[in-house]
């Protein structure tokens, strides 16, 4: 690791942050157009973040509450930086030399756990309910995800993401989604849960438990969370792109692929209504689990 890695990392973060924000805006715009609305401006997420940072007063419920957004954003950035973003690029390989796929999978929870703790310190029952729902859901989709990951790791005989991507080079027929469809399907279904869009968005449920865990966060704290909301999904998209869709050799490919992958939860979310938590837990442990087991058996 050299000093310039830090600079490269900052560059990656900057690009992905902007991409994430624009992606957020564009997707909401698309959602609006589907609903025959004009919709927000594509750069609305930027304004929202600036607005939140421009808030003059902030309240805090305690130390954990105050640093929870830090945990959250650290989780998001870390997830991003522990992955090779652009295949074959020294600059955007970031810190992927520190750990492999397992690290990435478990590092996701760093932010989730930190956020959950902070939200809980606010003492707001809705936060706690949201966390309870969120964690319940996480546990259930993690099972098909894990099975898929094991299947892929066995397929490529490695846990090294760069090597997994390398093995998929040379045309889309080499992509995991083609070569190992069951694992890919199991993971893509789990991906729906991971993105937290409808039908698995009961965690945030704005109507009944005002947006769940972050309900007490405001001003700059919320701003940090919003930064994470831009980076974290983008990082997850990059992860799934790397594992299932052959990674990306340049930014244009990355943007195209991740955008298309993002359309998958967006479409599902537009079509399906919300599951209750117990329903989604049960659902994840039926169809996706069976697909995952098939993937394992077929290794």
């Amino acid at each position: 690791m050299e000093f310039k890695n830090i600079g490269y990392a900052l560059l990656t973060i900057f690009i992905v942050l902007n991409y994430g924000l624009i992606l957020q805006g564009v997707v909401r715009k698309i959602g609006a157009r589907v609903g025959r609305r004009y919709g927000i401006r594509w750069y609305q997420p930027y304004i929202d973040i600036i607005k939140n940072y421009a808030k003059r007063s902030t309240i805090t419920h305690g130390v954990m509450f105050y640093i929870a957004p830090v945990f959250r954003l650290t989780g998001g950035i870390g997830l991003l930086l522990f992955m090779p973003v652009i295949f074959g690029s020294d600059i955007f390989g970031n810190f992927s030399f520190a750990g492999d796929l397992v690290l990435v999978l478990y590092f996701q929870f760093f932010g989730i756990l930190g956020m959950a703790l902070g939200a809980a310190e606010s003492g707001h029952p809705y936060s706690a309910i949201g966390v309870s729902r969120g964690l319940s859901q996480v546990t259930s989709f993690e099972l098909p995800l894990t099975l898929g990951v094991i299947a892929i790791a066995m397929q490529y005989q490695t846990l090294n993401i760069t090597e997994i991507v390398a093995a998929q080079q040379g045309g889309f027929m080499n992509w995991t989604i083609i070569t190992n469809p069951f694992a890919a399907i199991a993971m893509l279904i789990a991906f729906l849960g991971a993105m937290g869009r409808s039908p698995f968005d009961v965690v945030l449920a704005p109507q009944e438990i005002p947006i769940g865990p972050p309900t007490e966060f405001q001003s700059g704290l919320l701003g940090v969370l919003q930064l994470n909301r831009a980076i974290f999904p983008a990082a997850k998209l990059i992860l799934f792109m790397n594992l299932l869709f052959g990674g990306a050799t340049n930014w244009a490919e990355l943007i195209l692929k991740t955008f298309l992958i993002y359309m998958w939860p967006v479409f599902v979310g537009t079509v399906f209504p919300r599951f209750r938590v117990d329903q989604s837990v049960r659902w994840f442990l039926t169809v996706p689990l069976i697909i995952g087991i098939i993937a394992i058996i077929l290794i």
């Binding site: 401006r41 609305q44 007063s57 966060f217």
Partner: protein, 212 residues
Amino acid sequence: MKEDFKKRTVISPEGKPIEIDPLKDYFSDAKPKVYKPAHPIIEKFANWARANSLWVLGFGTGCGAIEMRPLMTPRFDAYRYGIQWRPTPRQASVFVVSGYLSVKTLKRVVRTYEQMQNPKFVIALGSCTINGGMYWDSYNTINRLDHYMPVDVYIAGCMPRPESLLAGFDKLKTIITEGRGEGANTYAEKFDWYKANQKKVIKDWDMPDYNW
């Protein structure tokens, strides 16, 4: 006052009696602060952002609330102006008081208003908030909202249509960009006056002076 907010004595695990004064122990009793605007250039930029990101608190206070829903429908589509709903006062910046306020509701409105973060803006909707409207002589509805909290924009009518609301929002944007949206600071400056007015009508005052 509700029984739960009166002083009480409980026994600690060690068997020692502890005095609990819920209003002191469970609520912060800090006074609101006046936050000085930042450097004009930064402030101008910030105001632009504030004006273009109006997060409305989803709190239907009176019958006018029914006029707010259509705003988000494809027909009026307030999203394109940067207006979005926010279900919690912590994250909202615009409070639309949508109609008459009984004393009981006023108490909740005040509390919610105070829970919003500076800067925050109030749009008062309908005649009732201006002069009591058709409830002007009621024993239980207030007549003038601006005696209880700073109001940035009044929208007259009974009821004003969504178009008027949009116009009101537009007006609010102008006010903010011009740097006149300092309601929160006004509230802090004239805190004692506002509090006195509130306390005059809210007889059952069972909360701290400022709800953080």
